[in-house]
Every structure is written in structure tokens, then in C-alpha cells.
Symmetry: C2
Subunit: 411 residues, 2 copies
């Protein structure tokens, strides 16, 4: 039996380390000799940076703390492998290392950009006839935008934080609403897919009205319609609450944040750095209606608030990591683990795992179905709530030391 | 025995309702007939808005959920009573209601602006020779800026959220630091007193380096010195973290946020609405050093994140509410409850309660002692850590329903 290596890639999440814990435990349970972890994903691996995970995770308590540790324990990267054609040198470098370390299973944990890495490595292996290493993808993204899987590890915990925080923010806002009318606009991550922003609706229950308006990037943002909605709401409510995705766009293709003072920063994948959607809308509401506004940008908090992870999410993330390693050692390659919803509508939630060809997943994006968005584009349907609610259930409280959560750290 | 009324005032906190629960339980335990709660503080009371708290809090489970409910259960206000001289009508109105409801003890829960209300009502009572009602203040403010008390209920929970979130944010930032150097600037509440911003230092432990720089409003902000510090840090670190108070000022008296695009909104107490300090500094760092920056504004999250309250804070908030009612029925008036630190340096933390004349507390502000700030004004001393650490210890996890915290709501 050959050795195992795992890497973490892309934006971290609260449960990416649960998948790492699952992958580690599977390899350990299978009796794998060397269990390696790439430092800073494929970018670090290219520079020869990796650790022996048996030296890092030395007991079952370490596994439990790793499950509760936010962000990538091994370090992550935003690095896209170049096209195979014309870049043999890069791939030769990687495969030389794979050979040296005697890797039988190579797992990479990430979102759609990261699955492109697994896809390319698998394609290159085919090209050179390299069969001794199996390449498997472990899904991860708070954005929930991977195709074929019912949902992605990371989404549930981010959604739980958003719903919890929004309920608390609305409760706070209402406390002072009588004193002064106010509009609260919360900006949530999600460039092209509005899953996380839709999760704002999970804050609504018999104790909290939830947001009044929810704007997803799946629907073109109509500024006049927004102003008209806001006018109507301000006529009857002390506190109006809006949840808005960072990625909402106007009909002319501009981001809503470009109405304000957006940054022109572009990341390694060519994505424009978005921020300021809430503050742009807040400025508009404030100047149009003369009302007090508060723009709240959840920023990276939503992807690292492991102190309020979803137990369901942690469990599934662990299971995905475990399954990827088992599948790899069973001979599968070029695939990503999927979470399948086994329960039918109305039944108690249950999930299973399967796998799917990664070439169809890499670089593809799953958006919120338009039928789950209300006709006027300002809220989500009951179907979305039924879909998302089970994913935020349960807690895995952190181990608290000196009043703050304890985490596992690279030695 | 006459009746009891309690009001909540000023910016909410995660534990203001623990004080309400404590006040309610004390009145109930004393056998008080009618236990009233003002809606929206003195502002609502002036309009005749109050509720019967025995109808709202009907069992001990309600008390427990109230302790876990963020923001003011009764509603709060930002309303300052006018000067007694020349405004007899306002005071006559209040005392007429106090007489009608047969109030023996009148408690008000808030910060220094709110203590002004108790002070004025007590002064007016003296002026007209009204002795049947006792006026007592219950301390509350996340800002921790009340005089004479060791600290204030609300501070510990906000500090715990800040330290927890910052540790998680730093962990997240480090995960991607290898891929791209980055500066994270977290903006924390505190206009003139930097207690909460200082609490950022509580994120530092053997697993987390904590922030590199901490800027409090007690020290004049020197932009050139900041740039020089930043230059040095960027030469040796992948991720540089700054915690900054919303209220930091330049030597010429301008707020640092005025370097960016600050709002000109002024609240009812004449306080300028501050925001954008982190983004102003972020813009400066980004243009000066060409590095990726992330401005995170904790906004109201820090005062309402009851899902990670400090158990110590909840306990003390409850005790303060309880003690104020007992003191009032014992005949004390015109006083606020104080938290006293009974433990000496190095001993396990212990607290006791006493009371102090409210006239010396109202409108006064306690700042972070300069000897607890490092000489160059960019960090806090070990003495601050020893002072603050016990206040964030322990948790009182929320009762979770459908994946989010349950709260008590006005019926």
C-alpha cells in the first residue's frame, strides 16, 4: 500500500479541517504508513512544503480539536495550475514529488477552482500513463456552488452563523427602533451564487421576523424597485432589514457596489474583489429617505466562525474526507465525493455519499434555482428553507481555554 | 410594599436582559405585587408604555431564556431627560405615572447617559419632597466606561466575542498568507474609551499571535508612526493584524475615519456617528504599500452576539439587577450598583457588589489607564490582560431551536 497526501485549497471554512480529520482517520484506519499534508495546497507542495500528519495529529483529542479549528490547518492557497499543454515542467515537478513520496492517493479539498487542480493532475496522469496514484476531490466551499452534490461542506456552518448573527442583529435593531427608525443592510458573501445570502431567511421564526428583503446575484438588481420597496417598508416599520449578496449586479452589468466606492483589486483567479455593496445601498437609502442606516459586512467572519459550527456540517465534512480516502485506496480516481440527500420531501433529513467525475465539476457553478426565489426577486421560497434548515442543525461547541476557543496549530 | 418598575436604556448588550432577569427575580422573591417594565425606557414610559412583567416572564425557564436573549427585551431608547429647571411639565408627567402605578422602587439599566436619568429623577424627587419612591441605577455598557465600578456588565461578553472572533479571523488570515501577503484591520466600538479594543489582546495565546498593533482612543493616533510600524511588520510577516477603536483621533483633533469617507450623522446625545476607521486605514495601507487589505467592522455584532456570552458576565449582570432592587426596597436611592473586585493581584477572581452615589457616575467616563498602554501607544500591558481575562471566562450556551438561538420576546 502506497502513502497518502492531502491538501487544502481556496477560501477556508469552519469545517475544512473536519474533512482533513476525516481523511487522516481514514488513512490511519486503513493502515497507511505515511500520511502527508501539503502546506499551502499545491502552491506550497510545488516548493516541497509538506508535513507528516502523524506527527501533527497525535491522539483522538487532536482529531476532535482539529474538527473545531477554523481555516485551513495546513494552510491554503489560491493557485490555479497552468494548462497541461506547454507546461510540462510544472507537472513533471509535481509528479516527481508524488513518486518520491510514494503517493498512492492524492486528495485535494476545495471548491470549483480547486477541483480544477485535481482534474488537471488526473488528466496529466492519464497523458503520461501514470496509474499508481489516484486523485480524489473532497468538496468544500461556504458558497455551496458545486455541481452534482446536494450541498457542500462549509455551507451549513456559514449559514448557521449568518442566521444566528442576523437574528441577534435584528433583535438588537428592534430594541432601538422606537427611538429612531433605522435600516440595517447586511452584506453576505457569494459572487455569483446566492446560497449564503438566501440563508439569511433562516433567521426568521416565531421570535424574529427575519430580513424584509433578500437580494441574490441570480436576479438582476433593480434600483428603482428597491427604492419603491424601501419606501413602502419605511411607511410601516421602525426597523427595515435587508440581506444582500456582495455580487448583486445592475441591468447594465455593473456591480451594485460600484455605485459606491468599490475596490479594483482582482484576485489570482481574475475575480474582482467585491466589497461595499451594503454601504453603497446604505448611502442610497440614507440620502433618499433621510433615515439612519447601518451597513454590516460579515466579511471573513462568516467563513471562520467555528465557535458556532453546524454539527451536521462537521459530520458531513468529516465523512466526505473519510470517503475520499477510502474510494482512492479502492481504486477510484478523477472523482469528487458528493453528498446525496436520501430523504424525500417532508421526511427527516438523511444523507449518503457517492462520487462523480471531477471533469464535470471543476470550474462549474451551481446557482440558486430561480423557482426558489420569489417572483419579485426579493425573497426565497419555502423550498429553500426546507432544503437549508437541516444543514444548520446541531452544534459542536469548541473546547474553551481562557475564555476563547482552542484550536489545533501546526507544530 | 409598593410596586416595582424597571427600564432599559442606551445601546443594548448581550447581557442587559440578565440584569432584567435579576431585577425581576428580586422583586418576585421580595413578594412585590406588580412588577412593571417600561417599554423603550423613559421615552416609552413618558408615553404611558409599560408591561406587566409577571405576564411576560411566567416561569423559571423564561428567566433562563431571558438571560440568553440579546438586546433590550423591553426595548431601549437614546433619550436624555431635559434639565429640571424650566421643564417641570416633563417631570410632573413622570411622577404622576409613578404615583398612579404606586412605584416604590424605580430601576434604570444603562450606561453613563442613562445614569443621568436616574440622577435627575432623584434630584427632582428631592426638590418636591417625594420620598416614597427610590431610584436605583443598574450598570450596563459594553464600553466599560462607568466610573467607580471595577467593570460593567456587558463588557465581558463583548470582549469575549471580540477575542474569539479575532482569533478565528487571524487563523483564517494566516491560512492564506503564504499565497498573498495581507493586512487585516478590525474596527471595534468605543468612542472615547478603548476598553473593548484593548480586549483584542485577549485573542493572543499559545495558538494565536493576536493582533500586531492595538490603537486606543486614549492615545493620539500618529499616522507616520503607524506607517513606519506597518512597514517594519510587512518586511517580516505574511499577515499583519491591527485592532483599532472607532474613536481614534489625530493630533489635530480629527477622527481617523475622517481621512476616509465618514458619515456626518449625529445621535441624540450629540455624538458623531463614527464608522469607517478600519476602511480609512485600510485604504492608506493599500495605497502606501500595495498590499491586499481587509477592513472588518464588528459593528453591532459585538454588542448582540449572545450566542457566545461570558458566563461570568451573565452572572454579574443578573447579580447587579438583583442587588439594585433589594437595595431600593431597603431604602437606598440615587445610587448605582458597583461591581467590586475582591481578589487581589494573582489570586483567583472574585467579585462583590456595593453601591455609589449616582451623581458622581452620571455623564462621567472611565478610560483605560495610560499605564496599561505600552509607551509607543500600540499595545496593552499584562495588567490589562490580568484585569480583563476573568471577565470573559465561561459560557452560557443558548437554547438552540431549529439550528439558531431561541430568545424571549415581548408577548
Amino acid at each position: 500500500m502506497g502513502n497518502f497526501i492531502v491538501g487544502q485549497s481556496g477560501g477556508p471554512s469552519s469545517v475544512i479541517n473536519s474533512s482533513l480529520a476525516g481523511a487522516f482517520c481514514a488513512a490511519r484506519d486503513l493502515g497507511v504508513d505515511k500520511i502527508y499534508g501539503m502546506r499551502y495546497g499545491i502552491q506550497g507542495f510545488l516548493k516541497g512544503m509538506y508535513v507528516d500528519l502523524k506527527e501533527q495529529i497525535t491522539c483522538d483529542r487532536d482529531v476532535e480539536i482539529l474538527k473545531r479549528t477554523p481555516a485551513a490547518f495546513l494552510g491554503s492557497c489560491r493557485y490555479k495550475l497552468p494548462a497541461i499543454e506547454g507546461n510540462d515542467e510544472v507537472y513533471q515537478n509535481i509528479f516527481k514529488k508524488i513518486d518520491e513520496l510514494d503517493i498512492e492517493v492524492f486528495c485535494y479539498n476545495g471548491g470549483n477552482d480547486s477541483m480544477d487542480t485535481i482534474n488537471k493532475l488526473n488528466e496529466y496522469a492519464k497523458k503520461i500513463g501514470w496509474t499508481k496514484t489516484k486523485f480524489m476531490g473532497i468538496p468544500k466551499t461556504i458558497d455551496n456552488d458545486l455541481e452534482f452534490t446536494d450541498h457542500t461542506p462549509g455551507f451549513g456552518s456559514a449559514a448557521k452563523f449568518i442566521a444566528t448573527m442576523l437574528k441577534e442583529v435584528i433583535t438588537d435593531g428592534n430594541a432601538l427602533g422606537f427611538s429612531k427608525q433605522q435600516v440595517i443592510i447586511m452584506e453576505i458573501m457569494g459572487r455569483n451564487a446566492g446560497w449564503l445570502t438566501a440563508a439569511a431567511a433562516l433567521s426568521k421564526d416565531s421570535e424574529c421576523e427575519g430580513p424584509d428583503l433578500i437580494y441574490l446575484p441570480e436576479v438582476t438588481f433593480d434600483l428603482d424597485a428597491f427604492k419603491a420597496k424601501m419606501k413602502g417598508l419605511l411607511e410601516k416599520k421602525d426597523v427595515v432589514v435587508v440581506a444582500v449578496s456582495e455580487g448583486v449586479k445592475l441591468a447594465d452589468g455593473r456591480f451594485v457596489c460600484e455605485l459606491g466606492s468599490a475596490s479594483d483589486f482582482v484576485d489570482a483567479f481574475g475575480h474582482k474583489q467585491l466589497s461595499g455593496t451594503a454601504s453603497a445601498l446604505s448611502d442610497i437609502v440614507s440620502s433618499e429617505f433621510g433615515v439612519k442606516t447601518r451597513a454590516i459586512e460579515l466579511s471573513t467572519l462568516q467563513r471562520c466562525a467555528a465557535h458556532i459550527s453546524s454539527k451536521q456540517d462537521v459530520t458531513e465534512a468529516f465523512a466526505c474526507g473519510y470517503a475520499a480516502v477510502k474510494a482512492g485506496y479502492a481504486g477510484e480516481t478523477g472523482k469528487m465525493i458528493l453528498i446525496d440527500r436520501l430523504s424525500k420531501k417532508g421526511e427527516p433529513y438523511a444523507f449518503g455519499l457517492s462520487s462523480h467525475n471531477i471533469s464535470e465539476i471543476a470550474n462549474a457553478e451551481k446557482k440558486v434555482p430561480l423557482e426558489w426565489i420569489t417572483e419579485d426577486g426579493t425573497y426565497v421560497s419555502k423550498e429553500f428553507i426546507s432544503y437549508a434548515r437541516p444543514l444548520i442543525e446541531g452544534e459542536l461547541p469548541p473546547i474553551m481555554v481562557n475564555g476563547i476557543p482552542s484550536i489545533l496549530k501546526i507544530k
